[in-house]
């Protein structure tokens, strides 16, 4: 675990110097948010549509930044160097931590902005925040392992979203549903099945990721 932490810190250091993924993901989020708010405007959409829009913005902006972490190692020929000094699971966990951090930073910016601009009112903040947290773990887990897959393939850009979307769809669907319930003041019991699904998904995808990553990393 200490090694995973070191990998994470190294990636943060690197990201801090170039800000490549951070810029991409932030700008994408802002651009889509602007596009959505231009085309719909405040006070016109109900919680169903707004919660769907929020998750679509989160999903696609995460798609623009999550792959970078592995693609960078391949493109700069540092993957072999990293392989030489540490184990595959610490690489995966380190990269996963980085992607989780990246997503939380984006959410910290996008969610309040979205609520302000689109007039999206949350009645049950607890359910909403919990669904975002679990959802982030799921998105980051799936995104990280798919990023590892595409970093070894020949076409990297478009393939990422194509591969990640069907796998991450349960997160999006339950995330939207949980947000909708949080915005319409449903009691916690009603949203519990979504929260359970989000939590279980995150656990399953991260476990599967750790187990399967070894086969990608050590060809």
């Amino acid at each position: 675990m200490y090694k995973a932490w070191l990998v994470f810190r190294k990636d943060v250091q690197q990201e801090f110097k170039t800000r490549y993924a951070l810029n991409a993901i932030f700008l994408f989020a802002i651009v889509t948010l602007t596009a959505v708010s231009f085309s719909i405007g405040a006070f016109s959409a109900g919680p169903e549509i707004l919660s769907a829009l929020l998750w679509i913005i989160l999903f696609f902006s995460s798609m623009s930044g999550l792959a970078h972490i592995f693609v960078r190692e391949e493109e700069t020929h540092t993957a072999d160097t990293l392989k030489l000094v540490t184990t595959s699971s610490s690489v995966f966990i380190g990269k996963l931590l980085f992607n989780i951090m990246l997503l939380f930073m984006v959410e910290l910016l996008v969610v309040p902005l979205f609520m302000g601009v689109m007039n999206f009112v949350i009645y049950d903040a607890f359910v909403f925040v919990l669904s975002l947290v679990f959802g982030t773990f799921g998105l980051a887990g799936g995104g990280t392992i798919v990023a590892a897959i595409i970093s070894k393939s020949n076409t990297k850009g478009a393939l990422f979203t194509v591969l990640a979307f069907p796998i991450l769809l349960p997160v999006i669907v339950s995330g939207i549903s949980a947000a909708k319930k949080a915005a319409t003041n449903a009691p916690l019991v009603l949203a519990s099945s979504e929260l359970q699904a989000l939590f279980a998904f995150a656990v399953v995808i991260i476990t599967a990721g750790i187990l399967l990553f070894d086969f990608i990393w050590n060809e």
Partner: protein, 220 residues
């Protein structure tokens, strides 16, 4: 000889299924003549899922012992899954148009089969994006297994969130099959006949792969 007699049995079974579906089995309440579609449409959907599971199994075996053969088998199973998935979708949406009035309306089962098709499409997109055979095998096997562990979530998540128009609540309430004996007989024999057809097709593909590999060996 043994295989040949199996094929003959399969032929008669399929003929019997078609006869039974059109003439023997009674119609279900609320479905009318469309009840008969059940005996052809449901097996294709069932095979789509079976093929997916078989493909994931082969992918797992590949990762275990890294023999290229198993990767090609997984590809074959997934190809068949894609074929039956398309058949299930097309026949299903014709049925939907006739009884619900529109070809597509995001019913949970429609959603699930659509997601399965998406996964298959992504799987083949990934395969075409990697040139090196062993790397392609490892990457697509990992993706296949990854997709496989997420599929149960669709089964649990999607139906809880969206309500269903599908006829199963009529024929099949609370997981108990409410078909009468005759219907059940035709349904189950249809299911097993189509499953046998699937495994026959898969076996053919596997033979084909065996020949291809032998040719490559000789050419080298």
């Amino acid at each position: 000889m043994f295989l040949k007699s199996l094929k003959i049995i399969l032929f008669f079974l399929l003929a019997a299924v078609i006869y039974g579906a059109f003439l023997y089995a009674p119609l279900a309440k609320g479905l009318g003549e469309y009840t008969r579609v059940l005996y052809f449409h449901v097996p294709t959907a069932w095979i789509t899922v079976t093929a997916f599971a078989v493909g994931a199994l082969f992918s797992g075996i590949y990762l275990k012992n890294k023999e290229l053969k198993y990767d090609l088998w997984a590809e074959a199973a997934n190809q068949l899954g894609l074929l039956f998935g398309v058949l299930a979708t097309v026949t299903g949406s014709i049925w939907a148009k006739m009884s619900w009035g529109s070809f597509w309306n995001w019913d949970p089962r429609e959603t699930s089969i659509f997601i399965l098709l998406l996964i298959y499409a992504a799987y083949f997109a990934l395969r075409s994006a990697v040139e090196q055979a062993d790397r392609r095998a490892a990457l697509s096997a990992v993706y296949d297994l990854l997709a496989f562990v997420t599929v149960p979530f669709f089964v649990f998540v999607v139906p809880r969130i969206y309500s269903s128009l599908h006829p199963d609540p009529i024929v099949n309430t609370q997981g108990k099959i409410h078909m009468n004996g005759k219907m059940l007989l035709v349904f189950l024999s249809s299911l097993s006949a189509y499953t046998a057809v699937f495994f026959w097709m898969l076996k053919q593909r596997i033979d084909l792969i065996g020949i291809q590999l032998k040719i490559k060996q000789l050419e080298n």
